[in-house]
């Protein structure tokens, strides 16, 4: 049902109900007033008659002309014989009591006033229906303006509501005109106050959508840009392999090519990992994960890489540390940290720690060059590589680490190593809820 129909039905019903209520009130008030007025009239008439009647013989003369009135006048002698009846054709009940009373007659109720004078009983009666008729007439007169106004109001409401709803229509059109490329906010100038919250909420949504899309676009642009580097390397390495004159040159070129392919593969994998770790993506397969066990497993897997660079790789995780999380994601987090540590450390070693201070944590410490405090926030940006570093990373590792940590309600911090030089990356997880 449209707002317009609803409004018309409800408003007109209310108006009609109001009119009926007013008419009802008027009816009862009018009847009350009529009662008072007519009772007064009855009494006055009876008193006047009493004052004028002295002898029964005078009755016909005194009461001459009273037949025309709406009142039925009867006079009884002390012995009960009726001496006079102004409307002989109407069967009005006899006197019941002195004063006012309501009497049921053959043709309805009567209002009766009786008075005694020198043995004569004078009774004046009037049909009660007369009073109801008057009250009804008053009520009807009250109701009539409402009834006349009703169609008029219906028409006006129809037009006015239509006019006000035009804003909804124009807002809808404005929304329809929005595209993913053009998400500018909807102008709120002429929109009525009631629709403002809707428009404001919509604008908020449009804003968030727009920034999400912009981020996505930037990510794709960044990713495309970032893929150029490994692709450039691959192209050059391939050409060198093609140009190779002898077996040793060819072997050298193939070695470079293999490294190039491994790097390009890693960049693509990291991009996929980053996309999968989208903060808005649902958390799946959450289960208890022992960080200590994870630390040992990742260290085992990367031991060869560390050894190849002559680095030590130690694990310091004496007791199980269980958190709720996605095992694969947490593994990727730790792998990235250890991989970074090995990549950027020239000599010395890497330590992986898992423990629970007040909160469960993972820590990877290296003896590499470290990261100056001023740069520590920027290294989390996608594709950012350290200013002074010459690594061949994808520039995505820490971005992935941060996303995974955030999805687990955790926090990543870059700290100074406990030793003389190096970097300590600490991931704190939220306190495990019992």
């Amino acid at each position: 049902m449209s707002i317009r129909h609803r409004l018309i039905v409800w408003l007109l019903s209310s108006v009609l109900a109001g009119g009926l209520l007013a008419a009802g009130v008027v009816f009862f008030q009018a009847r009350e007033e009529a009662n008072e007025l007519f009772d007064y009239q009855l009494r006055q008439l009876a008193l006047t008659l009493r004052d004028r009647i002295y002898l029964p013989s005078q009755l016909a003369e005194v009461l001459q002309g009273e037949e025309a009135l709406d009142f039925v006048i009867q006079v009884w002698a002390p012995d009960g014989t009726r001496l006079y009846n102004s409307h002989p054709r109407l069967r009005v009940p006899g006197a019941v009591q002195i004063g006012f009373s309501d009497v049921q007659g053959d043709q309805g109720q009567w209002r009766v006033f009786a008075i005694q004078q020198r043995g004569l009983t004078i009774q004046v009666a009037q049909p009660l229906s007369e009073r109801g008729r008057l009250a009804l007439a008053a009520a009807w007169r009250t109701l009539i303006p409402f009834l006349i106004a009703l169609p008029l109001m219906g028409f006006l409401i129809w037009r006015l509501v239509g006019r006000e709803l035009r804003f909804l229509e124009s807002t809808a059109q404005a929304i329809a005109r929005r595209t993913p490329e053009a998400l500018e906010p909807i102008a709120g100038g002429e929109i009525p106050e009631e629709i403002q919250p809707l428009v404001a909420a919509l604008n908020g949504l449009l804003g968030r959508l727009g920034s999400a899309l912009t981020q996505q676009r930037h990510f794709i642009a960044d990713a495309a840009h970032e893929l150029r580097t490994p692709l450039t390397a691959l192209r050059l390495q391939l050409q060198l392999a093609e140009r190779a004159q002898d077996a040793s040159e060819r072997e050298k070129a193939h070695g470079m090519l293999r490294e190039g392919i491994a790097r390009a593969t890693r960049v693509v994998e990291q991009l996929l990992a980053l996309a999968r770790q989208d903060p808005d993506a649902p958390v799946e397969g959450e289960a208890p994960v022992d960080l200590a066990e994870l630390a040992r497993s990742v260290a085992d897997a990367q031991a060869a890489a560390a050894e190849a660079k002559g680095l030590s790789l130690a694990v310091d995780a004496p007791a199980p540390v269980v958190v709720q999380g996605e095992r694969d994601a947490l593994r990727a987090l730790l792998e990235n940290l250890v991989d970074n540590a090995i990549r950027y450390t020239a000599s010395g070693g890497v330590v992986v720690r898992a423990g629970s201070g007040p909160r469960a944590f993972l820590e990877v410490e290296d003896t590499g060059p470290g990261i100056p405090p001023a740069e520590r926030e920027r290294v989390f940006d996608r594709f950012y590589r350290g200013e002074a570093t010459a690594g061949s990373g994808s520039g995505l590792g820490l971005a992935i680490v941060r996303r995974i940590a955030q999805r687990h309600g955790g926090e990543v911090r870059l700290l100074d190593a406990k030793g003389p030089a190096g970097l300590r990356v600490r991931v704190d997880f939220p306190a495990t809820r019992p």
Binding site: L234, Q237, R243, R385, G386, E387, A388
Partner: protein
């Protein structure tokens, strides 16, 4: 020719250096903007290959600062920034050419040759010195109408001398043109190559004056 390669990516740098060496160039490779500026200011390079996205100092600012200080070494920008505005600002900052990644090794070599040629005031890729004909694009040498097979070093040495016929280049200067920093140079390497050239061409083609160095006879 002696080239300065400025490239922060290890793999691209290694492959480009290797490829350019195969073309007979001596290549020095630095990996950040600050080193690039310091090295280029030495004025020993015939050409600088400059990446723009560099650690420590952006390539464009290195280029501007070089030009401001009056170094007019030819600069070829190699970068992933492919917007027209990037090319325009690169060229306006004083670059001689602009190559977008991913690029082809052959194209890189060709553009290097083209830039060097333009700087030497030659339009053609083929040099004529007396009876000597050097096709710098094909790196092909003809002597008195017959083809001569030269090694990469021999060719580089001949091309260096042919650049300014009659002018003397010292042994150190020739070594500089032929070898990068990280290449082992035997003490008599230049003499060995000169000897080979004389044998393959004609002993009279290359003159040697003690104290001055070597020069290519203008009339062959």
């Amino acid at each position: 020719m002696r080239l300065l390669l400025v490239e922060d990516d290890a793999m691209i740098g290694a492959a480009a250096r290797e490829g350019l060496r195969q073309e007979g160039h001596a290549v020095d490779w630095v990996r950040d903007g600050a080193q690039a500026e310091a090295a280029a200011a030495n004025d020993v390079y015939d050409l600088v290959l400059l990446d723009l996205g560099l650690p420590r100092r952006d390539g464009l600012s290195v280029l501007r600062s070089l030009r401001q200080k009056g170094h007019d070494v030819p600069v070829l920008i190699i970068t992933a920034r492919d917007a027209v505005s990037d090319r325009v600002s690169g060229l306006d900052a004083g670059a001689d050419d602009y190559l977008v990644k991913p690029f082809d090794l052959d194209e890189l070599a060709a553009r290097v040759r083209a830039v060097l040629r333009r700087r030497a005031g030659r339009g053609s890729a083929v040099l004529h010195v007396g009876e000597l004909e050097i096709d710098t694009a094909a790196r092909h040498v003809r002597w008195k109408g017959r083809d001569v097979a030269l090694s990469a070093r021999e060719y580089a040495l001949l091309e260096a001398l042919a650049d300014r016929p009659g002018a003397f280049l010292s042994r150190a200067q020739l070594e500089e043109r032929l070898y990068g920093w990280d290449e082992e140079v035997a003490s008599n390497a230049v003499e060995v190559h000169i000897h080979a050239l004389r044998r393959k061409l004609d002993p009279a083609v290359i003159r040697n004056v003690r104290g001055l160095g070597y020069s290519l006879a203008k009339d062959g």
